[in-house]
Amino acid sequence: METTDDGPGRSPAATTGDSPRSRINHMPGAGSERAEAISAGRHEMLHDTLRKEIKSLAERGLKRPRIGADAVCESLLRQSAEVVFGFPGGVLLPLYDVLGDYPELRHILVRHEQGAAHAADGFARATGKVGVCLATSGPGATNLVTGIGNAMLDSVPMVAITGNVVSSLLGKDAFQEIDITGITLPCTKHNYLVRDPNEIPRVFAEAFHIARTGRPGPVHIDLTKDALMGVCTAGHPDKVDLPGFKPNLDGHPRQIKFAAQEIAKAQRPVILAGHGVLISDAMDELKELAEKAQIPVAHTLLGVSAMDETHPLSLGWVGMHGWKHVNKAIQSADLLIALGMRFDDRVTGHVPTFAPYARIIHVDIDPAEIGKNVAVEVPIVGDVKRVLRALIPLVEPVSRETRAAYLDELAEWRIESEKTPWHGSGAWRNGQLSADFVVSRIGEASNHDATIVADVGQNQMWAARYAGFRRPNSHISSGGLGTMGYGLPAAMGAAVGLPDKETWAIVGDGGLQMTSQEMMTLVQDHIPVKIALLNNHKLGMIRQWQELVYAGNYHSSNLLGPDWCKLAEAYGIPGFQATTPAEVDEAIASARAVDGPALIEFVIAAEQNVYPMMPAGKGLSDLLEEQFEEPKQ
């Protein structure tokens, strides 16, 4: 695997076609690996096709009987899940015993099972395919749970496989036995306990179908050791039969007509694009709707990269740490068109104060999301892409001129918002390196084409605000669960999934210390993740809240860390350090020049806050802004 440093236009098809998108290479062109992955993922999501034919044991020249573990490997290959992030253990040994017979399966040995789950999650978000992680019974299984929960909250397609003790020992408190299906029940879309090898083909077919169909999510399969070891005679089913699982993909035509009427009436409409736009691959439809009716597009944290941020109708990120002008636009809107998002409290703030003048059209594939947090006027249950395809022809075209007063006002707010000191405050922050400068330089250097994976906390907010996202799914972040330690392993998964794209992990010193062991995995499996460590020697977001909400009572937010460059080098990863703005570009260039993983420690201002900030329990109109001091040059 190698990093590609040659900027845009590396995909041959990207230069063909007349649409502005293909000209600036936001979408990979047809024929590229990325485009194939998207279309395969999309196809898998909407159709249940018979997967590839897999070579039998005899065709592989093996004379042993086919056991449950073989059925697991065959199932993974049939589902095009060629990459497995895993960690072995006693009860999984029958599976690891046969893995070598399936050289098409790439097993990546992680250093902690949490890393396996996050890597599968990052892989899934970057590629649109189902991510797979594997862990043993007991502690291996419980270590996966954080990553499974993370995938559940962010609707990420994942199949998590665990081993369990032999079925005769189930319930006997055997060595490394835990009721793991009981534990994962509330944080998976569905889970299975398999004791019979002949059930494996059916269960895997169902699990992959459930994970990627409708609103995606994690599915957990617990396999007893005897199920893995027993002889398996069952064939693979051609289709799954799940009478209780039939997601509604097409929106109701009457509701779609209502939506078009609402859009025609609206004077100040705003589109709120969420993760669902990216999941359903509706980026083109989103752009088409926005352009046809001249509607500005705001997005949620997980909706970042659903629209090229340089598009004139792209407004920016909404919510607790979103842009002030975007929050103002929401608060003054008379119509919100919410696409594939769930009105999380980080978006709405105190609901009675949210978008007080707006009627709401809410499109989501999960009926339970409609009316859960916010009452809406036009609910539409369906796949965002399909709903938009049906809606766009019904929408009256609106010219830029008709909306001129509105759009000009938003543009004015934007200038005001971006002029304020927290934006692009320069490279220096009170005599120290500024985090927003670092992040924006990484975005620039990678030509806004790299996959940027954030950890959780201030680094996550800076990444989403300042890196500048132009390619769909180039932004990966733990939104719902807010899992510190997510960044590095998820970047690992993303880099494995999209080897032709540069991958950056933007992490803080707190989060990196939670999962830094995966640096060894990067080296052993040649995964070229570039780690940008924003080191403020603090748990920055905790410190920020303690400063602003808890009267400066800084308890447990000061953080010692190792000598990061030495640590990286101990793992065999080149380490670079930047402490002044002048060193930033050089460090980024050095890291990009490394053929393989690299780490840069950016020593940033210890007390830089993320502004604006919506205080907990307040609304989008009550933003805290920075009391600015003149930057010292």
């Binding site: 299906t181 009478p243 699982f245 939506a259 009452a375």
Partner: protein, 195 residues
Amino acid sequence: MSATDPAPRTAPAHTAPPARPLPGDGHSHRHVLVAIVLNRPGVLNRVSSLMRARNFNIDTLAVSHTDQPEVSRMTLTLHGDDVAVEQAAKQLYRLIDVLKVQDVTSDPTVEHEIALIKVHASDRNRGEVLTIADMYKAKVVDLAAESLIVEATGTEAEVDALIALLRGFGIKELVRSGTVVMSRGTGSIEEAVKR
């Protein structure tokens, strides 16, 4: 939730913005839900775990298999406003093993539960107990020197009323099955899931 009535929420100058209403009217009342589920190990756990996780309190829950052995039927009663209970039903729908959920609260239904009530009854007051039981069309199914067991069927409210009357005699033991419900007429909730 209709789009036909525009009711524009425009911004009047210099006034406080209108408060966005929260979903639901907050008027909690009793709801009866019927869930048709696959008869698989763990399905009861999935349903009860989900209700707990989503902060709903189940009042009664009755489960049994249906005429199709692979399909079970649950009757749940719970309190909440209409929107909250609708949310509970939608969350139940997300479970792969749940085939159908219907709120039958305002439908014409036959609603019954069975209760066994062991009451103190001696020669002195046995007649009184029997009279009350008779008025509620309850049967005496066991008789002992100092007590008897009354078997009562009826709606939750009817059984409540009988229990209130019998309490004066001293209830030694009480068991209730939880409500089961079936819609009146020829329609069938299970029709949609017949395989």
